[in-house]
């Protein structure tokens, strides 16, 4: 067993001693049992084949004590409702409109405790993924957002998770539960950022539950820079005719690993899942996505793109699993990658696992330089080759950002993107 679990065991035990909530204590104990019984991943562990966890085991992680102060991501004048979590603790939130409630595990009264018990027992019951069960074992805070049936929010919810400089050598497990009721519609923006300069280990789990006919536009943006390890997951369950449009972005940090699992549990559900990863320096970014088509007549469209620079490494694993009765499924996945240096590496594996015959499934993956005819078009207009390549790399990613429905999110991300491809003056935004 790895060092990380030895230190984690102490933390877990301290936690357990500090609570009088029997159910929670048992629930964490179950998480701990699963975590400690899972063999520590090696190169031969399929799910971790390309992502070594060395950078987790060389620090003496402590559970975070909430004390920090940090701002996080600011969307300027975008009218929104922001909930700010510093080092995993909710410190501030805007007034909530009717139909939206937010409850905290740490401040649960008897009634809320009962509700949490039901909610947490329901989800991820058979979960074995290493860092989900770690989150369960270490859980100190869960933020539970409920959007009542029929509620149509005109402003986005911004969940602003930020790590302060006080969090050095801390592990921060947070769970976010978002339930979108029948026919409700909402936009949820999750941002992760940091002020910290020291090593941190962030372990967030987001669970999205969309009831029948619910619609959610979702952003999950990992913008932390520096010595950050971010190992977490997003699980979404879609009811009948529910619609989830989920966008992901990762850049910066020592190690980022995100497991995205979407279950189609009601017929007619639709999913759009897009993402972008941009590791550079010695960064390592790993997205593992799984689409579970459990019922017939559902649709999934997934596009992930990445550019890997310097000595960085990107891993992508996109699995589409069509269960036995999921006839009439439409599922498509595209993963494209660019390497911009001889020391960079990408490992990608799009997987299809199909047990129903009347389905349309396709995946494609490429690792390549850009389109030669596009490059020639630039050259034929007098643009220098280096600059043309920078612009095309930018375009390769920007194509996905351009499609974002919320301009303020695009305005937040595009400068980050430009900064990464900054060699060409041509990337200045023009009205």
């Amino acid at each position: 067993m790895a060092v990380v679990s030895m230190q984690a065991q102490n933390a877990h035990q301290q936690l357990q001693a500090a609570t009088d909530w029997n159910w929670l204590s048992n629930w964490r104990a179950l998480g701990w049992e699963r975590f400690s019984n899972t063999p520590w991943p090696t190169r031969k562990t399929e799910d971790w084949k390309y992502t070594p966890l060395r950078s987790l085991t060389n620090t003496d992680w402590q559970l975070a004590a909430p004390s920090g102060d940090a701002q996080g991501v600011d969307f300027d004048d975008w009218s929104r409702m922001t909930l700010t979590l510093v080092d995993g603790q909710l410190v501030d939130h805007d007034a909530l409109p009717e139909g939206v409630s937010v409850r905290l595990l740490s401040k649960a009264d008897a009634q809320t405790r009962g509700d949490f018990e039901q909610r947490l027992s329901r989800t991820l019951a058979g979960e074995r993924q290493l860092f989900n069960v770690f989150n369960q074992a270490m859980l100190t805070e869960a933020v539970w957002i409920e959007i009542a049936p029929g509620t149509v929010l005109d402003k986005p919810l911004h969940l602003n998770q930020v790590i302060s400089s006080a969090a050095t050598e801390r592990v921060i497990p947070v769970r976010v539960l978002v339930d979108v009721g029948d026919r409700a519609e909402a936009t949820l923006v999750e941002t992760f950022s940091n002020d910290a300069s020291g090593a941190v280990f962030i372990n967030p789990v987001t669970e999205l539950q969309l009831a029948a006919n619910a619609r959610l536009r979702h952003y999950h943006l990992l913008l932390e820079e520096g010595d950050v390890r971010h190992l977490g997951s997003v699980h979404a369950s879609l009811g009948g005719y529910a619609n989830l449009d989920s966008f992901h972005m990762a850049l910066g940090g020592t190690l980022k690993r995100k497991d995205l699992v979407v279950e189609h549990n009601g017929s007619g559900a639709e999913l759009t899942l897009n993402g972008v990863y941009l590791p550079r320096g010695q960064e390592h970014i790993d997205y593992h996505t799984t689409l579970e088509h459990c019922v017939p007549h559902c649709t999934s469209s997934e596009v992930f793109r990445g550019i890997v620079a310097d000595r960085a490494k990107a891993v992508f694993n996109g699995r589409i699993h069509i269960h036995k009765d999921a006839q009439k499924t439409l599922a498509e996945l595209s993963n494209k990658n660019l390497l911009t240096s001889h020391q960079a590496e990408v490992d990608t594996k799009p997987e299809l696992e199909i047990y129903a015959d009347d389905v349309k499934c396709a995946h494609g993956a490429t690792v390549a330089q850009r389109d030669d005819s596009a490059l020639f078009y630039f050259l034929a207009r007098g643009i220098r080759r280096e600059e043309a390549e920078v612009m095309l790399n930018f375009a390769f990613i920007n194509e996905l950002l351009d499609g974002l429905a919320d301009a303020p999110v695009r305005d937040l991300l595009q400068p980050l993107l430009r900064e990464r491809f900054a060699q060409g003056a041509a990337l200045e935004p023009l009205a």
């Binding site: 389109d371 078009y377 034929a380 207009r381 612009m391 023009l430």
Partner: protein
């Protein structure tokens, strides 16, 4: 301005051009006509320096410089402009960014300062109007989702902004209806000047009703087999390309 001497070129081991000669002086408009597969589009791509189009013999002198010694972008900076038959779509790069990068590069090579963003935007909008393209095309990805006619007008827009010395129009009429053809032709005619030369490559005489050439050349089997004035085009229109083949054979 452009003197092509005995040019031979091939694409993937297939010989396309076999000893082509052409002399184009400033202010002239030359039409190059010919049957499909004669090498018309190859000529434009070879002159612009597309990878995969290999020059195997001959020379091309462009304003005292040997064209084939230059990189494609250097040729563009030197004032050679190829209007593509099928302009490629580049999603993710806005037309505006692309145009500015291009104009900046060409200006820099002439020792001119880059235009300020404000000035450039003003200029681009002005030219947009001239080619009858709505201004929101500037914000869209390069050629992304443009119709055939819009792509050609976008080529024309670039030509106006870059003010090249030599324009090569590669089958600019293909895929255009009469109205669109007229808009494009008017734009091209507006650019005719004593210091600028043009090579108009086309399969059909019809374009030459609108852009009237000084010289017409017939390209067949990789070389110019006949040259003449405007009347040659009309003759071709009447008789088709069949007689060329006979004459060449």
């Amino acid at each position: 301005m452009l003197k092509i001497d005995n040019l031979a070129a091939q694409v993937e081991d297939k010989v396309i051009l076999r000893g082509l000669n052409l002399d184009v002086k400033a202010g002239e408009v030359h039409a190059i006509m010919g049957p499909n597969g004669a090498g018309k589009s190859t000529l434009g791509h070879v002159l612009a320096g597309r990878a995969g189009y290999e020059v195997t013999g001959g020379s091309a002198d462009f304003d005292g410089q040997s064209l084939f010694d230059l990189e494609p972008e250097e040729r563009a900076q030197a004032g050679l402009f190829l209007a593509f038959q099928y302009p490629v779509e580049i999603p993710g790069v806005s037309n505006m960014e692309f145009l500015k990068a291009s104009v900046d590069a060409v200006r820099a090579s002439r020792g001119q300062e880059a235009l300020s963003s404000m000035d450039f935007i003003k200029l681009a909008r002005e030219k947009c109007q001239a080619v009858d393209l709505p201004q929101d095309f500037l914000k869209r990805g390069v050629n992304e989702g443009f119709s055939g006619g819009e792509k050609k007008r976008n080529e024309l827009l670039q030509m106006m902004l870059l003010e090249p010395k030599l324009c090569i129009l590669d089958e600019t009429d293909s895929g255009l209806d009469i109205d669109a053809l007229q808009v494009v032709a008017n734009g091209v005619n507006a650019l005719r000047s004593p210091d600028r030369a043009m090579i108009v490559v086309t399969h059909y005489q019809r374009l030459l009703d609108y852009i009237v050439p000084d010289y017409v050349h017939v390209l067949a089997k990789g070389k110019i087999v006949k040259s003449g004035g405007r009347e040659l085009a009309l003759e071709l229109e009447k008789q088709g390309y069949g007689w060329i083949d006979e004459e060449v054979a």
